[in-house]
């Protein structure tokens, strides 16, 4: 009896890991679902863009390129920072978690600030949501994305508080792991958005 059991025991992971895996699976299913939501929005963008001859319309203000690029760098750096925080938690370097997560939060806040600057600038220049399909797409996609960033910032703020109490360690970092996954998703959506809406 003991020999066949031993192999399965070595493969068996303790219950906490199993619970974590369940939560992680839930997160993956959620992100798959939300990917479809963004896919539909990008599809709407493509459909509108393919109909018109000139995109963007000549009589509307141009989207700036430098500010969104800076924003892209900020949110990408934020993703790197939170991944470093998760890595530190996994490796047991508990003191290193807080600075990394706090940096991620700050960079995320910078991204939102940059987006607000972008919107106000364009709004003043005369780009309004009711000005045709181009501004519709621009505002709908960027604002919808920014709402996801705000939710993520809430999660990161929670993670900062937890990290300050040294709550994340090699065995217990589920919340941080879930928010990291979400944060990477938000980054991925931004990269798609940046390439399609700003560059192409």
């Amino acid at each position: 009896m003991s020999t066949p059991v031993a192999a399965s025991v070595l493969r068996y992971r303790p219950p906490q890991a199993r619970k974590d895996a369940t939560a992680w699976l839930g997160m993956v299913v959620f992100l798959a679902s939300w990917t479809m939501m963004f896919a539909a929005l990008f599809a709407a963008y493509a459909a509108l863009r393919l109909r018109v001859e000139q995109w963007p319309p000549a009589d509307l203000p141009r989207l700036p390129l430098v500010l969104p690029l800076a924003n892209t760098l900020a949110i990408a750096a934020s993703s790197v920072a939170i991944q470093a925080g998760l890595r530190a938690a996994r490796q047991g370097r508990q003191a290193a978690v807080l600075p990394a997560v706090a940096a991620a939060l700050a960079l995320g806040a910078i991204f939102v600030g940059g987006q607000v600057a972008l919107w106000t600038g364009l709004w003043r220049a005369g780009l309004r949501p009711d000005g045709g399909p181009f501004p519709s797409v621009f505002y709908a996609l960027t604002v919808f994305h920014a709402l996801h960033v705000l939710v993520g910032l809430g999660g990161l703020a929670w993670a900062v508080v937890r990290a300050a109490r040294l709550a994340f360690g090699p065995a217990r970092h589920l919340g941080l792991r879930l928010w990291t996954g979400y944060w990477h998703f938000v980054l991925a959506m931004w990269l798609l958005l940046y390439v399609t809406v700003f560059l192409l």
């Binding site: 199993r18 699976l25 679902s33 539909a40 709407a44 009711d130 000005g131």
Partner: protein, 605 residues
């Protein structure tokens, strides 16, 4: 890697006990946590059931108003008219008529059938039937119901909206659904309600998908799961993937209505070229076609199980049914174009969608043949759940056959937008999922509430419903075949439809009698709830896990997580009959002197 033997042994103990993975939640003691903000899947299931049944009545009343208008156009509506339509002298005006059929469709699909089949029975059956203590994420489950409750509030707000409730049809096509076509807050409230209920559905879907993958009891392999769970799980997968597409369509429409964006605006109101109304149709049907399978897959699964339970035979070709349902799930994503044959779609593309549509009927036919072969030569017990399951097979069969005419472009061009379409989708989506829901209610009522429903009233309800529902929807098919367009306020203003008044009047009276018959069910349901005969643990003598525990189940479902030994339909097994003297054996029941799995082998032989 560095796991000591003692530690390994400890791990194994935990692995076999399974209790740490699914801890017993402490039972809540306060009223609010127990009945209102409950995280118990069984309580949430009942909340969804009550909400769904209530809105089923509302949707039914709206349907009666439509039928009244078609039978007696412009005449004052009895009862409802004197209460709700006083301003119009009790009759339904053209604008009100638009809101009536719109709200009927939206309420029935999103706020009646979805909460009953998916919200109530998904929540109730999945953990119990796979041997789990609760959903994987109980808090998310509670949030799902209360998000749904918010969407119900938005629906009610829509009725009191300025210029009346939503009026752009259940499909909410722009430009009719934009501010130009349907001004007023009623439509906006309804678009918001669709988005919010979508969020609720996704929350539920995440829970169902994860729970089935992670929380099956030991031995509950995928191919031992009851088909009910298969149907609900595949539905959850579709919900998670395609409801977001509807969500984004609703979101963009909401932005168009509230913030003046131009996604779907066309014509004189458009700015710089405007948007594309057809885009909405694409987004809507990319969701909408999976949605019809979302509504029918749970019913398929439930009916497949019930036919086996009450024919006292194993379900015919269980694996075939599973594969067929999986095939339908995958294919449902690539047939949506058949809703858009008449939108100026390239005929080549139309033909491709036609081919795919006709192909998707093949797995549905496999299922159908499996149902027929399951009851073939069975020892059929005509209990109420079985009657409703057989009723579902009948109406779904008719609905499926009429669907072929709409899937083929040549006939669809003639039948498009007629009452034939209405009759078809009412038979498949409405009647079939309605019968599936009622079969489920009659089957699980003893488990849910610990009491039995009155069998005589239940059977009366069945015969009443099947007769008049068939008359009602075949009446629609005939009117459509004769050329009557759907949604006409007064069809008899057209000369070529004048002669259809007697037919429509007869169809309407079928509907009124059908509706009256539903109060037999309402009475039976409420009376049995209070004064029904107490139910034993296993009143139907079937083997799935939920019947091994008391009715109603305790808060944590299972004291010990059961170890599953066999599939869900272990009936008429000679070895079991010899040893236990009965024709069924539970999924987790040990049969003395035989190895696990041997019983199944005997049954196959």
């Amino acid at each position: 890697m560095g796991v000591g033997l003692a530690e390994a042994r400890e791990n194994l103990m935990e692995a076999t006990a399974y209790d740490d993975i699914q801890p017993i939640h402490p039972e809540p003691t306060s009223f609010w946590r127990r009945y209102v903000f409950s995280m118990d899947h069984k309580v949430i299931a009942k909340q969804f059931l009550w909400a769904g049944l209530l809105f089923l009545l509302v949707g039914g009343a709206l349907a009666m108003m439509i039928r009244w208008q078609w039978a007696y156009p412009g005449r004052a509506v009895p009862l409802i008219g004197s209460i709700f339509l006083r301003g119009q002298g009790g009759a339904i005006g053209p604008a009100t008529y638009m809101t009536v059929f719109t709200m009927h469709g939206l309420i029935m699909i999103f706020f009646a059938i979805t909460p009953i089949l998916i919200g109530a029975f998904g929540n109730y059956c999945i953990p119990l039937m796979i041997g789990a203590r609760d959903m994987a994420f109980p808090f998310l489950n509670m949030a799902s119901f209360w998000t749904f409750a918010i969407s119900l509030v938005l629906v009610i707000c829509s009725f009191f909206g300025q210029l009346g409730a939503a009026g752009a049809g259940w499909t909410t096509y722009p430009p009719l659904s934009t501010n130009i076509g349907t001004p007023g807050s009623g439509q906006t409230f309804m678009v918001a309600a669709i988005f919010v209920t979508g969020v609720s559905t996704i929350m539920g879907g995440i829970n169902y998908v994860t729970t089935v993958i992670r929380h099956r009891a030991p031995g509950m392999t995928w191919m031992r799961m009851p088909l009910t769970v298969w149907g609900l799980w595949l539905t959850a997968v579709l919900n998670v993937l395609f409801v977001p597409v509807l969500g984004s369509a609703a979101l963009l429409l909401f932005l168009d209505r509230v913030f003046g964006t131009q996604f779907f605006i066309a014509g004189a109101a458009s700015v710089r070229g405007g948007g594309d109304p057809i885009l909405f149709q694409h987004l809507f049907w990319i969701f909408g076609h999976p949605e019809v399978y979302i509504l029918i897959l749970p019913a398929w699964g439930i009916v497949n199980d019930l036919l086996s339970f009450f024919a006292r035979k194993p379900a015919n070709w269980y694996r075939g049914s599973v594969y067929a349902m999986c095939t339908v799930t995958v294919m449902s994503a690539i047939v949506y174009g058949h809703h858009m044959f008449m939108t100026g779609m390239n005929p080549m593309l139309g033909q491709s969608f036609m081919l795919l549509t006709l192909i998707i009927s093949v797995p549905a036919e496999i299922l159908f043949l499996n149902w027929l072969r399951t009851i073939w030569n069975g020892s059929i017990r005509t209990e109420p759940p079985m009657l409703f399951a057989l009723g579902m097979v009948f109406v779904f069969g008719m609905g499926g056959l009429t669907g072929l005419y709409l899937g083929a472009t040549a006939t669809d061009i003639y039948l498009h937008d007629t009452m034939f379409v209405v009759g078809h989708f009412h038979l498949t989506m409405a009647a079939a999922s309605f019968f599936g829901s009622l079969a489920a209610i009659y089957h699980w009522f003893p488990k849910m509430f610990g009491r039995k429903m009155n069998p005589r009233l239940s059977k009366l309800h069945f015969w009443w419903t099947i007769v008049f529902m068939t008359l009602l929807f075949t009446g629609q098919l005939i009117a459509g075949y004769a050329g009557q367009n759907r949604r006409l306020y007064n069809p008899y203003e057209y000369d070529f439809l004048k002669h259809l008044l007697p037919l429509n009047r007869y169809t309407s009276w079928s509907a009124f009698i059908l509706m009256a018959g539903q109060f037999v069910f309402v009475w039976n349901f409420i009376h049995s709830l209070v004064a029904g005969e107490k139910a034993e643990a296993n009143p139907w003598q079937v083997g799935t896990l939920e019947w091994t525990i008391p009715s109603p189940p305790p808060h944590h479902n299972y004291d010990v997580i059961p170890a599953v030994l066999r599939g869900p339909h272990e009936f008429a097994n000679p070895e079991v009959r010899e040893k236990l003297g009965r024709d069924w054996i539970g999924q987790s029941e040990e049969l003395a002197g035989s190895e696990p799995g041997a019983a199944a082998a005997v049954a196959r032989a």
